[in-house]
Amino acid sequence: MEKASLREAYGRTLIELGRENKDIVVLDADLSGSTKTKMFAREFPERFFNMGIAEQDMIGTAAGLAAAGKIPFASTFAIFATGRAWEQIRQSVAYAGLNVKIVASHGGITVGDDGGSHQAIEDVGLMRILPNMTVIVPADAIEMAQVIRTIAYSHGPVYVRGSRIDFPVIYKDKNYQFQIGKGDILREGNDLTIVAMGLMVHFALEAASILSLEGIEARVINMSSVKPIDKELIIDSARKTGVILTVEEHLTIGGLGSAVCEVVAEDYPVLVRRMGIKDRFGISGKPDKLLSYFHLTPKDIAEEAKQVLNGKPRLLRAIG
């Protein structure tokens, strides 16, 4: 299975954009080697600002740059970007709708060994509740590159969540173009729908293969655009498959699962089961061990899908 780094994809795309558009500027908070903004810094030192370990000032400076017509990309680890500087993002960026792109790496539990203090599992929720903010969680490195290019040329504040670890490549041989507000059906099936974001998209595809061997066909959706979310696709899936399983490397409270629930609860109520981290913090461990520990492997997803399906006929009867 081919894997690729979302961070590398980000760094490479920043360089391409930097060559195309002199208004692109990049900021980092002493993690440019990890976030890969260093790649941009080497080529365009005058348009790169290392802000030191000062995330609040980084976001504020990015807001000022945007107010004066620049297109700032501000990067650090997801936990510091969205947690340490949340109020700066609210007041200085989102409130005015300023054109700041916050691209974070190291989202989710697969940050690994550093432990719960460094594992951002609430970042999507924190960003999703901010008015004006767009939230995107790419499913692989190819989509990451497309996302960065798309947001560079669309106006408004955006949060993009990346990862420390490499992701399996999904879109290499597929004709796909990321669009803000659109989900992507990666596999068709009528028995249930699995909606996922980030690394979990690939895991959901693997789970669908396992389920298929047992005669269960799942529709698998990459919902990289968590906000605005693709309501039409969610309602269409609810109607066609009657039951939805959401999977995310994030708390089940506030993230993708919550977003999907909000849509179906208002417009087409069906059973939604949310897989993710259940109201607790992360712990130290290797990424693969942590994914097993938190029941977020393809096998876990397939297992959960079967359980949900067992409840489906009963639920449908209850609805009448």
Binding site: V25, E46, R47, F49, M51, G52, A54, Q56, D57, I59, G60, T61, A62, A63, G64, L65, A66, A67, A68, G69, K70, P72, E87, Q88, Q91, S92, Y95, A96, G97, L98
Partner: protein
């Protein structure tokens, strides 16, 4: 906009601005009286005697920019923007009311002449740095001015931004500190002492100038001197009086966040008339 440094005219204007501010606050029934009155001369000096700006074209690319980091002094900024011609003066009395362009704190979405949203304290200097860096990248001679409160510098982000301005040698930036020595809970020195202020900024790599913040000559001299300082940012530490111009508001912490009553307004307007 054609600028003037006619001190007699500016002093008269200061009185008019103070009257407008008090009427606005009374009409709104809420807002920040003390800290609005302490910055009157500083803001007048900037908008009428220093900033290159065009009220008919607020988005003029080559303008100098101003950030009111202590956003609760918004009434004074609004009164001055109206006198400059950014919007009709009668609009001032819609302050804080539903549907107004004059929000409780400065908001660039609504008000022409406002650059960025402020009011959550501690964030303005970072944004001013960003704008100054953008001007430098674009090869513009624009300068950026930012007004901070003295209580405000208790926020850690201010010192992060102070480091950034010195590190990146942002010399097209001038900060002005409204040193009225009071905050909501009382004297700044009692709530959380920030002294020695000048030494702190100097230690962070800034050029510092101390002045009387109600004296137009001193303000203009400081603004002109700041423009000549190269290779580092400059802060003008302006000694001011909270509630300046109205005897019973002066140096009173309790008037930080309350508007004048009808009776207080009448007394205040009389005082300003006689003064």
């Amino acid at each position: 906009m054609s600028l003037t440094r006619n001190i007699k005219y500016l002093r008269k204007l200061a009185k008019e601005i103070r009257k407008d501010v008090l009427v606005m606050l009374n009409e709104a029934g809420s807002g920040h009286t003390g800290g609005s009155l302490s910055v009157v001369e500083l803001l007048i000096a900037l908008f009428f005697g220093k900033l290159r700006h065009d009220p008919k074209n607020p988005q003029w690319k080559e303008r100098d920019r101003f950030v009111l980091s202590k956003g609760h002094a918004a009434p004074t900024l609004y009164a001055i923007l109206a006198h400059c011609g950014y919007f009709p003066r009668k609009e001032l009395f819609s302050l804080r009311k539903l549907g107004t362009r004059l929000q409780g704190h400065p908001d660039c979405k609504f008000t022409p002449g406002i650059e960025v949203p402020t009011g959550s304290l501690g964030q303005g200097l970072s944004m001013a740095n960003g704008m100054a860096l953008a001007a430098r990248l674009d090869g513009l001679s624009s300068r950026v001015y930012v007004l901070l409160g003295d209580g405000e510098v208790q926020e850690g982000q201010v010192w992060e931004a102070a480091m950034t301005a010195a590190h990146y040698k942002i010399d097209n930036l001038c900060a002005i500190l409204d040193n009225n020595r009071l905050q909501i809970d009382g004297w700044v020195s009692d709530v959380m002492n920030i002294d020695p202020l000048t030494d702190k900024w100097r230690a962070f790599g800034w050029a510092t100038i101390e002045i009387d913040g109600h004296n137009f000559e001193e303000i203009f001299n400081a603004l002109d001197e700041a423009e000549k300082i190269k290779g580092k940012p400059t802060i003008i530490i302006a000694r001011t009086i909270k509630g300046k111009g109205v005897s019973f508001f002066e140096n009173q912490a309790k008037y930080h966040g309350v508007a004048p009553t009808k009776e207080e307004l009448e007394r205040a307007l009389k005082e300003l008339e006689i003064a």
